[in-house]
């Protein structure tokens, strides 16, 4: 391949054309990636031109190029945000040192692990969502799904780039394994539990992109602080794309709520199920489920790994440099929740040990913003209902609350109480059956399924009737 060919095929700002190591690694990996996409990417519309955004550069102009593309021809590129001149390490034991341009041997294993765990989630979500295209509520939504999918694919590329470029042989092996683990595969599952569940319907997809992609945002944001500069720059660029995924979630849930309110008004009832809509309490149960599952992704409240990563400078806090402390945290303490048989209390622990909890709190605050917007539209419709984030102890399988039952309003409840109320708190079989019954593909441009309202605007200033996917 010539330089022009390489750069055209794999847009990048990492001098791929001059980097033999990377070319060699990608030569082996890229065909495997394409094979993976064909097998485990979207199950249909594989050759349908989709109106996709492709990043071909990091600058204002380059990063959002729209055109109809067949997905296998999508140009998955490798982009790192522009380097910050003389960047220094902002936190931890190496605070003030120059940021690292190569991985220090001392932290090889930890950095590799962080990158592999992050990277593993990217293709996992594509696998989880692979059948959703069959029931897209509109071409607009189908296009958004595909946009999220190709970008998760690009995020995989971003992590694979780091593994290939900086981790030698072991990195190449890890990059291969990212394509060998599969979501939900009993023998060879994805690393994190939440990424082994299928995303069965579009309500779940909206919830997933709202809550679980937002976990991704917080993980990426704390990795953006990393002393390992290429990781920092990679995550910085990924965050731009991640914002769109969360938009899909926020606007998606908002549109469902909107449609429900319309149906409630139209039929003058709280129960819109007979009218092909989704009741607000059902939406609340889906929200409960996805929020709790996403909280588990933050790990246990206290973690020596998190402390070590911070002290070493591998992973910071959300917006580390805007925080008003010494960024070393050697003697600082804080309170973390603690579940005991007597109830929910707190205990004081070193801040360094509680970094997962600190990140989770930032996440929770961010999650609340979407709910405020949705609740505003509910209130404007004159409906007396409020969507709420359940208590952070609700339905948890990781950390202090695992093994305890906590109600959405934060009470420790008995086994019996839990089972008696579970169907009010979490999606029931009836809920799932109802949601499933509404999953029908709508493929006529501009048309919407009946359970979700149209978006306020189209993509890239195109009208709603635009043929976002040419079937």
């Amino acid at each position: 391949m010539t330089i022009v060919d390489i750069n055209a095929k794999i847009p990048n700002n990492v001098d791929l054309a001059d980097d033999r190591r990377l070319q060699r690694a990608l030569e082996g990996w890229q065909p495997k990636f394409i094979r993976w996409w064909e097998e485990l990417g979207p199950v249909a519309f594989k050759r349908s031109p989709v109106f996709l955004r492709t990043a071909i550069d990091v600058g204002r102009e380059g990063w959002a190029n729209f055109d109809h593309v067949e997905m296998p021809d999508y140009r998955w590129g490798i982009f790192l945000a522009e380097p910050e001149p003389d960047r220094r390490i902002a936190f931890g034991d190496h605070q003030g040192d120059d940021a690292w341009q190569e991985i220090p041997g001392e932290y090889r294993a930890d950095l590799q692990r962080l990158i592999v765990v992050q990277g593993d989630t990217e293709p996992a979500s594509v696998e989880q969502q692979q059948k959703l295209c069959l029931t897209a509520p509109s071409l607009y939504d189908m296009r958004n799904l595909f946009q999220v999918n190709v970008e998760e694919g690009r995020h995989l590329w971003a992590m694979v780039y780091l593994l290939h470029r900086y981790f030698g042989r072991a990195g190449r092996d890890e990059a291969d394994e990212m394509l060998e683990r599969h979501s939900g595969d009993t023998d060879n599952p994805r690393i994190l539990g939440a990424f082994n569940e299928e995303t069965p319907d579009w309500l779940s997809f909206y919830m997933f992109t709202y809550f679980t992609d937002r976990d991704g945002k917080y993980q990426l944001a704390s990795l953006r602080e990393s002393a390992f500069d290429p990781l920092s720059r990679t995550c910085d660029f990924m965050l731009k794309e991640e914002a769109h995924h969360m938009f899909v979630g926020a606007s998606g849930v908002g549109r469902v709520v909107q449609r429900t309110l319309e149906l409630m008004h139209e039929h003058d009832t709280d129960d819109v199920h007979p009218h092909g809509g989704l009741n607000l309490d059902l939406i609340q149960r889906y929200l409960n489920f996805h929020y709790a599952v996403s909280l588990d992704l933050f790990g246990a409240e206290t973690s020596t790994n998190a402390a070590n990563y911070f002290a070493a400078g591998l992973k910071g806090r959300f917006q580390e440099e805007r925080r008003d402390d010494d960024h070393v945290l050697r003697d600082a303490t804080r309170l973390v929740p603690e579940a005991t048989d007597d109830g929910i209390g707190v205990r004081e622990v070193p801040q360094l040990a509680a970094l997962n909890e600190t990140l989770r709190e930032d996440y929770t605050e961010d999650c609340g913003k979407g709910l405020d917007r949705w609740n505003r539209s509910i209130a404007e419709a004159g409906v007396d209902f409020e969507l709420r984030l359940p208590h952070f102890g609700f339905n948890r399988n990781v950390g202090t609350f695992a093994g305890h039952h906590v109600s959405p309003d934060g009470r420790m409840v008995s086994d019996a109480q839990w089972h008696a109320n579970a169907s009010d708190w979490l999606p029931s079989d009836d809920d799932k059956a109802h949601v499933k019954s509404l999953q029908v593909a709508v493929t006529e441009p501009g048309k919407m399924a009946g359970w979700v309202a149209p978006p306020a605007t189209g993509i890239n200033r195109k009208p709603l009737e635009f043929e976002y996917v040419r079937l």
Partner: protein, 555 residues
């Protein structure tokens, strides 16, 4: 201990503590320690007690007797003071030494005692201890390293290992091991012996097996003569010289690098590495034993061993914070093989034998060094035969697969080549060759590796024969090596030393492995314990008149 650099190079003219007299087939080595000439201030080397400086001279003497005096068949080691043979290691020196110096000191003295046994066993140069006065602790251990122990029976002179009752440490130079393993003293008697400060004298010492013979002062000289004569006739060493002269090493120190004639060592303090680069001979080498004698210490095979030995000792003692030793070679592998061929063709020649044995000892010293050993096999290197042992001795090796593609004129890919030398010339302290050790319990893999003898193996073949650890190509090379070295440097040096010592010596136990593992590990533990080294411990209290306070809990 101050940080003054310890110098290992010496020669008989400079000795302060020993006198060497050669009388045809007999050499007499008399210990006469100058109390004022300790290596450091703060202690006096009274009553023939020794410090590292005394032992450096002893090591030099052992080497010269072997190389410079082929005609010497028996070495008599004796004491030069009245009623004292040797009082062992100096207590003041031990009490003031850093932990790592004590450990290094014991290791070096052990290696010297092993080389005395090696001379007896393999060079037909038999060492006899003429214990003409009290031999305490390390003094008796020096006698134990000899093949025969003759004790004067003057009603006063005893042999003893008083370390435990007096100092709360072990006799650190193989004493406990040799008493039972070599002299076959019954263990209960050995226990009684090692816990009684006054030791054992005369007849009883013979009865317990602690010495071979005694004689009263009047006939002690005759006994020695008799034993020398008896042992000399058994020796296959030549009756006449000439030997070769172990001339001072050609060495230039420039900051953090040392240049020798056949090798250089350069230190990277930030990375914690010392890189040895060994060069193949670049001029014709002796092809016959006569030419070898003619070339003497200038012959590459000997020069290289001496320089490696010197560099290892220097780094061990003077660069304790440099935790990883990296081995590289440069030059023509054929030249190495040709130089070595002489050693293969004339195994019975005294000098050939000495050189082969010297390499074996030097490589053992490498195995026993508390450093991570990494070998890098790159294009232009010459890991053949004796130098291939550096691949086998390494904790990990990296061999470049292919060549440096980016060079305008890429060199031939690296190769390694086993020769007959790798099949048993250089036994490790477990008694096995490094190949046998590598493939312990896997005879098929051993046979497959052995079958490659004489063949130049490129990286994939070498990896296929399991001779190298990793074979990255040029794209990965720099990072793989850098990361491996950096990662190594970030681990605990103690844990690494312990891990390496566990992995390096698989297979059978020998007296040497017991000395370097069981004895040394226990001793090094004791050296950390307050009962020995604490402010109220025995080493500090020794000679003050007050008894040590022991923490009586057994661990």
């Amino acid at each position: 201990m101050s940080d003054l650099e310890i110098e290992f190079e010496t020669s008989p003219e400079q000795y302060r503590h020993w006198v060497v007299e050669i009388d045809r087939e007999r050499a007499t080595l008399t210990m006469n320690v100058d109390p004022t000439a300790g290596l450091r201030d703060g202690y006096e080397l009274k009553t023939n007690s020794y410090d590292l400086g005394v032992d450096i001279e002893l090591y030099d003497a052992v080497q010269r007797l072997r190389f410079e005096h082929p005609e010497v068949k028996v070495v008599v080691v004796t004491g030069g003071l009245d009623k004292i043979f040797c009082a062992g290691a100096n207590i003041g020196m031990l009490a003031g030494a850093t932990h790592e110096h004590k450990v290094n000191f014991c290791k070096f003295t052990n290696e010297t005692r092993n080389s005395i046994e090696d001379a007896t066993a393999h060079s037909s140069q038999v060492w006899i201890a003429a214990v003409n006065g009290t031999a305490a602790g390390g003094g008796y251990e020096l006698a134990l390293a000899c093949d025969e122990i003759l004790l004067v029976d003057d009603r006063a002179s005893s042999v003893s290992l008083p370390e435990i009752p007096l100092l709360a440490v072990l006799p650190g130079t193989g004493g406990l091991t040799r008493v039972v393993e070599k002299r076959h003293v019954r263990r209960d008697l050995a226990d009684a012996f090692a816990t009684r400060t006054e030791g054992v004298r005369g007849r009883q010492a013979v009865d317990w097996g602690l010495v071979d013979q005694t004689a009263p002062l009047s006939s002690f000289g005759n006994l020695i003569d008799e034993r020398v004569a008896a042992r000399a006739v058994e020796s296959d060493r030549p009756d006449l010289g000439p030997g070769i002269r172990l001339v001072p090493l050609d060495r230039t120190v420039d900051g953090d690098s040392v240049e020798y004639s056949a090798m250089s060592v350069s230190i990277d303090r930030r990375a914690g590495t010392a890189t040895f680069t060994i060069a193949a001979p670049d001029a014709p080498q002796p092809a016959t034993p006569d030419e070898l004698i003619e070339a003497g210490a200038g012959a590459w095979v000997l020069r290289c061993a001496r320089e490696l030995d010197a560099a290892v000792l220097h780094l061990r003692f003077n660069e304790t914070a440099i935790g990883t030793w990296v081995f590289r070679t440069e030059g023509d592998a054929d030249a190495v093989a040709v130089a070595e061929q002489l050693l293969a063709d004339h195994p019975d020649h005294w000098l050939v034998r000495e050189i082969r044995l010297y390499w074996a000892r030097t490589l053992k010293r490498l195995d026993l060094s508390a450093r991570s050993l990494m070998t890098l096999i790159e294009p232009g290197s010459c890991f053949a035969g004796v130098l291939a042992e550096l691949v086998l001795a390494a904790d990990r090796s990296f061999m470049l697969d292919g060549t440096w593609e980016d060079l305008d004129d890429p060199p031939e890919p690296a190769t390694i080549r086993l020769t007959g030398a790798n099949l048993g010339w250089f036994a490790m302290s477990n008694g096995l060759s490094r190949l046998q050790t590598r493939f312990w319990g896997r005879p098929a893999a051993l046979a497959a590796a052995e079958a490659t003898v004489g063949t130049e193996l490129e990286a994939r073949e070498a990896a296929g024969a399991e001779l190298v650890t990793f074979a990255p190509d040029d794209i990965d090379w720099d990072d793989e090596v850098r990361i491996a070295l950096e990662e190594r440097n970030s681990f605990s040096p103690d844990a690494l030393t312990a891990m390496e010592a566990n992995y390096r010596f698989v297979g059978p136990e020998t007296m040497e492995t017991k000395i370097f593992s069981r004895l040394s590990a226990w001793q090094n533990w004791i050296f950390q314990r307050p009962n020995a080294v604490g402010p109220n411990g025995a080493l500090q209290r020794f000679g003050t008149g007050s008894r040590p306070d022991f923490d009586t809990r057994r661990v």
